[in-house]
Symmetry: C2
Amino acid sequence: MGVIPLTEAPSIHPSFPPSLLAGSSEGLTEVFAALGEAIDAVRAAARPTGPIPAGAPADVLLSAAQALGPARLPAEGLGGKAALQLLATTLTEHGIDLSHPRAAAHLQPPSLAVAVAADALASATNASLDTYDSGPSAIAVERWLIGVLIDLAGLGKRADGVLTPGGSLSNLLGLLLARDAAALRLGLNARQDGVAALPGPVVFCSELAHFSVQRACAALGLGEAAVHPVPTDERRRMRPEALAAALAALTPDQTPLAVVATAGTTDFGSIDPLPQIAEIAADRGIWMHVDAAYGFGALFSERLAGRLAGLELADSVTLDLHKIGWQPAATSVLLVSDTSAFTALDREVAYLNPTDDSEAGYDGLLGRSLQTTRRPDAVKAAATFLTHGRTGMGRMVEICHDLARYAEHRILEEPELELVAPAELTTVVFRYRGGDPADSDRLNGALRRRLLESGSALIGRTEVRSGGPGSPQRVCLKFTLLNPTATADDIDGLVDAVLDAGRACVRLTEESAA
Amino acid sequence: MGVIPLTEAPSIHPSFPPSLLAGSSEGLTEVFAALGEAIDAVRAAARPTGPIPAGAPADVLLSAAQALGPARLPAEGLGGKAALQLLATTLTEHGIDLSHPRAAAHLQPPSLAVAVAADALASATNASLDTYDSGPSAIAVERWLIGVLIDLAGLGKRADGVLTPGGSLSNLLGLLLARDAAALRLGLNARQDGVAALPGPVVFCSELAHFSVQRACAALGLGEAAVHPVPTDERRRMRPEALAAALAALTPDQTPLAVVATAGTTDFGSIDPLPQIAEIAADRGIWMHVDAAYGFGALFSERLAGRLAGLELADSVTLDLHKIGWQPAATSVLLVSDTSAFTALDREVAYLNPTDDSEAGYDGLLGRSLQTTRRPDAVKAAATFLTHGRTGMGRMVEICHDLARYAEHRILEEPELELVAPAELTTVVFRYRGGDPADSDRLNGALRRRLLESGSALIGRTEVRSGGPGSPQRVCLKFTLLNPTATADDIDGLVDAVLDAGRACVRLTEESAA
């Protein structure tokens, strides 16, 4: 391998104390002290009175950017205390507060204190899941969590799973496994040769499936055109008979890769009829992926778990504990009913899992993921599950469901508001009534922006078809209720804020028309 | 939209205190207290004396699993204190310690205390990057960090970037943009129609490029066969003339999508000749992606920055601040030289970025990522950069480089060791001499497992071609030196541990032969 000349050994002048590094005993003390100081800075900061800072977005973003200073690595550092103080102040003064009772916009819960503490502990070790010697205990914790989730999902003994950085990537991974399995059945090796030889790939999902299904098909080289949306019923669930008809209508030059059922649509929480879809998929030998990113959390509650009946029939399942599960992002999971599905991802890498090492047990979870380095997101979720148990997790889900039902009730009582979709899980979709459809769309959009700009409430919006297929989309408002410490009074405050903003917008429109 | 009957309003019985949630003022206090207790548990735990617990992998994993108990969600929780104590103990007793002076296996640095504290603060807010109202200040921090990195990379005014969950996914994203741009030049819409119509896609990279290039091509529907490895020179850098020849040899039914240059190979830290590769790529109008996951960190140091000359010519760049940058995983970044590259990822989503909201500035970073929810990994890196400045970051890089040079020197002095590759960045590849090639391969593999199983040192391994193209791969050992608090004595300890293990393995072999 050639002769390399002997150079002079460099002299090394260490100038950093052991407390530089989080994993050392001194470093853990340093993390703790630094966090304490950062928390003091959060407390001293001028926290917005509402859940989001008041002001137009451009102004809020500019203020935050100005607080951070020029986007250039400074020649000399400020030291940890000043830097953390600056970031703590910036995050607090120009950021959102999801624990605020009027924060109800997205599937983005306030994180649990225990999860944040556990995650900090995991970050301090900087373990990674890819190979045994990058973090044995982190591997054990992930395997424990996967076991718990398989049990909750009711999947069988051959089931397996892996954590991913988010629901969009879990869906992508599920569809990748489905794609490569379908190719294999046609005698094709998609991993080696790509998808060019795969005739007319088709992925079915409900018309209300998450847009990440389209994005995944684009990324996987199938194209968004591969996605065939299946119509939904009046409760916003995929119509199984429409799925069966669409499958029957396939031509021989088309390859059905997967049916994606949604268990908990983003806007409505509606759950596709899983048993019927599973039967249709099984009849045709097609992969069934269930996007339960949002809905999986219902399994924590005995009251709501029945809604996910049929989940155990899936070939793969996406679930996000950073939605219902109150984890800081991200704690997404892909479960598969059969561990052999992961062979599409297997890789033997000389520096990670050579054969002799693998045979001796020195192997990690590289072969279940598209990632190499992978952070131990399982630790925070394990800490949460052990802390609260099923009773505690279930109670959190039920409170959020009750909050949504309470909001639904209140909306029905308000003549200015129109309930668009009832509370299936923890969302409620509604409109502020007013004017012809176009005016009303503008009004609802403006109403929400008014709430955000005033900083008084953080609510969601979406678009909903006004009638049957082909009817126009209407702008709607949405509460996503994920705060298990919130009360009925908080919901009343939220609805009152919507009513105030709606009236103000109507007044402004009338004034400008006058 | 149909009449929905009025149901009775549910009564809501909150049973959780405000301190449940990390984002509340009470919750932050709770996070702090809980972390303090977890740290006490870490201190009280029986920490292994070395960087990795002693024992065979199966035994270590079993012990950790037993500590966690049955993989089932318990009916009742243990409470936060007991749960965190259990996890802190498990992570410590069965996990690795990257701050240990004899931890030198992977591109997995010990994390900085300031980064862990800042990340905990960010997790407490649970901001997300996808839309304005999921976290304005987090968006501002990411934009700040991207600006800093663009400046360091020397990219121009039209440059842009986004954080991703890891280098493998940054490479995938870069190749996705390259793929869709190449299709567009042929009049194809890959996003809509997939890649079936794209004739003979080819991605060039050096034969020493990271395996994530192959994995990305498999995921993107191009197939691993799309990857054309280009031979390297004696310093393990892509040969530009070989690249030019490979390009010239393409047939009309082939489509070159990208050239991937590596700036810092995983094993050797070798850096492909970026200016020459850029010239060849530009001549042919081909996308140049630079995988600088490992090498980018050299830019922090004035002494080493020159090695990355030509980086500013890339169309896209992967960099991992969780490699050289001392962040807990993950803080990977994809930079692009022209923000218009991201149009391949644009999506308009009714619940996230409808037109009227986008026009009013209520838009986030959804259109730069394959993710929807995205954690604010930029916060910890921003805190680190502000704390240490370029001087501090540069000094850390230089110390690690010096440690590698010191190790190289020490290896050259030891007759039992053979230096295989000199220290370009912070790795050193070497072998324990002994026997014929097959025996020696077994010996080096066994030596490393012996170190791991005894728990005395955590070193890496890889395989290196013994001569020119086609010559057999030989098992080698590797130090990846990323601890800026380590000293020359620590390196001596590491080398001594290797020598001891090597002698023991030789003795065992001789005994079993006798």
